[in-house]
């Protein structure tokens, strides 16, 4: 079972409402894997179960098996923070921590998880992460400025840098461009494609064109179930499911 992420018969309900209804998923390593589907289909919930950030919500019940990089995520012996260290997450809303500086936002993860031993090492890691996210050139002279002074696209790249600084094995992105303009979106998409050399990227999007532009594999999700999954080229040229076809041709969603 050599997958970055493996999900077997996953059922999730929140406040008594079934959100995921028997999801199966196998994500190979070092690919961009897009999960697309209309809003309300359970994409974000699926993502939030993979690193147990769903624990923060009230009234959640999870059945089924989730394995991320060999760790059984919902095993009672598993420590949720340990899973979250392996799985970076980028959110729909760019969410730098507003009272921290640009530098501190990136440094926070390595600091609280003691990934570095010296200030110099931390400086290097922060620089590395910001360079990876193509943000370094824009912020190197104002690392101490509050993160909230950056533009929306810069804030989102800062969040990507913050996730990368943890050296995660899997990077989950929940509609990372839905609050950004076309130029910023193009930058982030370019970045996503480059990132797969280092990490497995799971991208949730309601935009099927974005999925076709950046993903190696796509899954189509509808009403809490994955209706179809396969290589991007095949799904977009010969969709097996009627709903997939209607979705990717823009007939609904």
């Amino acid at each position: 079972m050599d997958y970055a992420v493996y999900v077997k018969d996953l059922w999730v309900s929140i406040g008594g409402r079934e959100i995921l209804k028997g999801v199966n998923l196998e994500v190979p390593r070092n690919v961009v894997f897009a999960v697309m589907g209309p809003s309300g289909s359970g994409k974000s919930t699926l993502l939030r179960t993979l690193n147990r950030i769903l624990d923060l919500y009230e009234g959640v019940s999870v059945r089924g098996r989730v394995v991320v990089e060999g760790i059984d995520v919902y095993d009672s012996r598993t420590d949720p923070p340990a899973v979250r260290r392996l799985v970076g997450m980028v959110f729909q809303m760019p969410n730098p921590i507003p009272n921290l500086s640009i530098y501190d936002n990136v440094a926070l993860g390595p600091k609280i998880n003691k990934l570095v031993r010296s200030r110099k090492e931390l400086d290097e890691l922060v620089r590395w992460a910001l360079e990876k996210a193509y943000l370094w050139n824009e912020v190197e002279d104002r690392l101490d400025a509050p993160a909230s002074k950056l533009s929306g696209g810069q804030q989102q790249r800062l969040c990507i840098a913050r996730a990368l600084a943890m050296k995660p094995r899997v990077l989950m992105m929940d509609e990372p461009t839905s609050n950004l303009d076309a130029v910023a979106t193009a930058e982030i998409e370019k970045l996503i494609i480059e990132l797969k050399r280092d990490v497995t990227v799971i991208l949730v999007t309601h935009n099927s064109f974005q999925a076709s532009r950046v993903a190696d594999h796509v899954a189509f999700m509808y009403d809490g179930q994955i209706l179809e999954v396969g290589p991007t080229g095949r799904v977009f040229t010969r969709p097996a499911h009627k709903l997939t076809e209607r979705y990717i041709t823009g007939k609904f969603g």
Binding site: N51, I53, D55, L56, E58, P81, A82, R84, R85, G88, M89, F91, M93, N95, P96, I97, P98, N99, L108, G109, I112, N113, A145, P146, S148, K149, C159, R162, A163, M166
Partner: protein, 304 residues
């Protein structure tokens, strides 16, 4: 010259009315403060600095003596109660606001309900309840601590914690609950344990925490009713020994009350002096908080 329009007249009249209403509502406060400062400061200045250290003179004496034991008592009561109350309320707030498991969320709901009820209790009832508990455990505790008494510094501290901790808890808990979910998710998604996440969140809420702590401190300093049956009041310095915690102590608020009601000229002067000291303390606290918060706001100004 043009005559003013009716709109201009109306505007001027209303502005004047608002100004008058403001003056009327502020006047009593200013009058109160001015009286306390005038009557209290004259006593303090005339007997400076001995009034800060001496014990009160005999009632009816031509000298006033001092309110030293009461200043010391307020300092002891407040600082010990603050040192105990702050960590308790902080930990409780973090525990209930960052609850994850079902039983933790349940405990959180009950805690909030209980704390809301405690806030509604008149503080004299809290004092009486503490006295009742202390008095009923006295025979048992005396077997181990012979000097134990229900009227004591310890009881006063317990009462003050019960009065002020609910405030701190609710303020900080509300602050934590109001943190946007996306900020909380950002912190937790970095692999932060609940403890570390709370530290980051509390730092994010620094101004809320400062405000909560200083309001609680001011409440402790100015609390009176809860101390009647607990700290009880005393006009002498307690001897410093192992039983110091179990002796009655005075406080500035108790001094204001008892000296003010006494009917002796020199004690009434002490009452004014104690009022003045209280006012000074609270205004200093208020000023310090403002100063701290201003620094904070300056730091955050770049945000929007």
């Amino acid at each position: 010259m043009r005559l003013p329009t009716s709109r201009a007249v109306k505007s001027t009249a209303l502005t004047a009315a608002v100004a008058l209403a403001f003056a009327l509502s502020v006047a009593p406060i200013l009058h109160l403060m001015a009286t306390v400062v005038y009557r209290g400061a004259t006593v303090v200045v005339r007997n400076f600095p001995s009034i800060l250290f001496d014990i009160p003179a005999a009632p009816g004496d031509h000298q006033v003596g001092g309110i030293g034991p009461h200043i010391l008592g307020t300092a002891l009561l407040t600082s010990i109660a603050f040192a105990i109350g702050v960590p308790i309320s902080l930990l409780a707030a973090v525990f209930t606001a960052e609850a994850i498991r079902r039983w933790e969320r349940m405990v959180g709901r009950w805690t909030r309900l209980l704390v809301h009820m405690m806030l509604e209790f008149p503080t004299i009832v809290i004092g009486l309840a503490v006295y009742g508990v202390m008095a009923s455990i006295t025979p048992f505790v005396r077997a181990f601590v012979p000097g134990f008494r229900p009227f004591s510094l310890l009881s006063g501290v317990v009462a003050l914690v019960l009065v002020a901790a609910p405030y701190m808890y609710l303020q900080i808990e509300d602050g934590l609950k109001s943190v946007p979910q996306h900020v909380r998710e950002a912190i937790y998604s970095l692999g932060a344990s609940r403890f570390v996440a709370s530290l980051v969140l509390l730092r994010y809420l620094k101004s809320t925490v400062y405000a909560a702590l200083s309001i609680a401190l001011a409440r402790m300093v100015s609390e009176t009713a809860a101390l009647f049956f607990t700290a009880f009041g005393s006009n002498v310095y307690p001897p410093l020994d192992t039983d110091s915690l179990f002796r009655p102590v005075g406080s500035l608020t108790l001094a204001v009350y008892t000296f003010g009601l006494s009917g002796y000229e020199n004690w009434i002067e002490l009452s004014w002096a104690a009022s003045f000291m209280l006012l000074l303390l609270c205004l200093t606290l208020f000023g310090l908080t403002k100063l701290l918060l201003r620094g904070e706001r300056r730091g955050l100004r770049g945000l929007r």
